[in-house]
Every structure is written in C-alpha cells, then in structure tokens.
C-alpha cells in the first residue's frame, strides 16, 4: 500500500462532492458524467449547452492545474489497443444501459441512498475487481 494517498484522495473527493452539490443547488441536476456527456449529443435541444460547458470545465481543470503546477497530473496506461477499445465500448454502452457510472450512481445516487445506485455500485465494483484479477492471471503479471 505504499502508493496510498488518503489526504489528497479525501480532498479531491470532497471537491467532486462540492461539484455535485453546486449542480444540484444551482441547476437542479445530477452530476452523472456518463449522462451529461452522452446528452451533449443525444439530449433534447435546449438541454445541451450546459452539458457542453460542464464537459469543457472538466477538461480545462487539469490543464489549468498543469499551468499552475508546471506539470500534468500523473497518467499511466499500459494496456494494448484492443483492451483500450474493448474497455471504451463496454464503458460507453454499459453506463448508458445501466443509467450511470461512478459519479451518477457512485456519488450522487449513494448519497441519496438510492437502492438502484447501491446495486449498480456493488456490481460495477465487483465486476471491475474480478476483471483486474482475471486479466492479471492471464497476463501473468
């Protein structure tokens, strides 16, 4: 557990929570990234601009952070292209089929004790952990 960073994780998490609260208190919307992002294309007309601006903010934040810190946040990805493509397809299709991801179900849903979100989080956490274990045993790492 030498990479464990509980303080920055808690502060970052609190900011994610603050973002969810801002979007609810000001706009009355759930901060679910898969739904917000998908809606930039598929939502009804008149319901798109705020989504696009939220996504712009999401992209701009680490870039602005990099400007002040002089370095990008750490980023490491080692998977081959087929795993990256398969992962992207599954994440895109699965989050829409299941009506949410780590933010919509994980943060917003759990905080209002939604039984659907509790089910979703248990399943995607379990599936994610099982997948990592299986991939590791196949790749022998």
């Amino acid at each position: 557990m030498e990479n464990f960073t509980p303080i920055s994780a808690s502060i970052g998490g609190a900011l994610i929570g603050l973002s969810a609260v801002l979007l609810m208190a000001l706009n009355g919307r759930i901060a679910g990234i898969s739904g917000v992002f998908s809606g930039t294309v598929f939502a009804e007309r008149g319901d798109k601009l705020w989504r696009i601006l939220f996504i712009i903010g999401l992209i701009a934040a680490p870039a602005l952070w990099a400007l002040t810190q002089g370095a990008h946040p750490p980023f490491e990805i080692t998977q081959n292209w087929s795993l990256i493509i398969a992962g992207g397809l599954l994440v895109g299709f699965g989050t829409r089929l299941g009506s949410g991801c780590t933010s919509g179900h994980g943060v917003c849903g759990l905080s209002r004790l939604s039984p659907r979100s509790m089910t979703s989080v248990a399943l995607f956490m379990g599936a994610g952990m099982a997948t990592v274990a299986i991939v590791k045993s196949f790749l022998g790492t």
Binding site: L15, I16, N27, A31, V41, M129
Partner: protein, 144 residues
C-alpha cells in the same frame, strides 16, 4: 446564463477534484481494483469524501423550494432494480477493470492522456451511440 456558468463552474470543480485525487490516472484506479495485488485504497477515500459532502449538501439544497437557476430539482424517481440496471453495471465494471478509466477521468484526461485516451473516448462514444440505437429499436412497455 446563470445556468451555463454554474455548469462550467461545476465541471471545473469536478475536474479539479479528479486531478487532486489522482483519479485521472488509470494506474491508480486499477491499483484500487487490484484487491489481491499491491492494493491502493485511495479511491475509497475519494468516494468517502465525495459522499460526505454530497449527502449533506443535497439535503441543504433540497430545503429550498427550487434550484437557483432552474424550475425544479430533477432527481431520478425510479426505484426498480431491473436487468438493464444490473447488466449495464456489470458491462461498465468489466470495461472499467480492463483500462482503469471511467467516463469522468477519461474526459478529464483529454489534454494530457495522449492517443490512448483519444481512442478510449472514441470507443466510449461509439458504445454510447450503440446504446441509443439499441434503445430506439427496443419497444417500450407502456407505463402502468
């Protein structure tokens, strides 16, 4: 106007949270999912911090009759646990475990994640579009 500035601000704060917590790093997310390896519990603290703030903040927000820039709070009322929910969560979890990226971090890493993130985002968008197609072709049961 206010609504759009609020959304931009919320996106910025969300992205800052992902950056500070290092959840934009797929390796760190995979280290959380790797229970039987060199486990890094950081992601649980990210969730914990987010949940405490959201649970309290939502309840404070809902004491007001309506949001500042909108007519009503749009909170999902569906409480039915169905196959779509469960299957979707499992498919998402498998994809998440394969790469270590979920939608927020994948989008947030656009400016520094290089080609892997661009390819992941393209595939994620294709998966979402495939769902929209599937959803429009599936007959909808009439509401009871």
């Amino acid at each position: 106007m206010g609504r759009n500035i609020a959304a931009l601000l919320a996106g910025l704060v969300f992205g800052l949270g992902l950056t500070i917590s290092e959840m934009v790093n797929p390796a760190k997310v995979l280290a959380f999912l790797d229970l039987f390896g060199n486990w890094d519990p950081s992601l649980a603290f990210v969730m914990g911090g987010a949940l405490i703030v959201t649970a309290i903040g939502y309840r404070l927000a809902w004491t007001r009759p309506k949001p500042v820039f909108a007519e009503r709070f749009q909170v999902p009322g569906n409480r039915q646990i169905d196959t779509k929910l469960a299957l979707g969560a499992v498919l998402f979890g498998v994809g998440w475990g394969l790469v270590g990226l979920c939608p927020g971090p994948a989008i947030s890493a656009l400016t520094f994640g290089g080609a892997p993130v661009l390819v992941f985002l393209a595939a994620m968008g294709a998966g979402m579009a495939a769902y929209e197609l599937f959803d429009r072709m599936t007959p909808r049961p009439k509401a009871a």
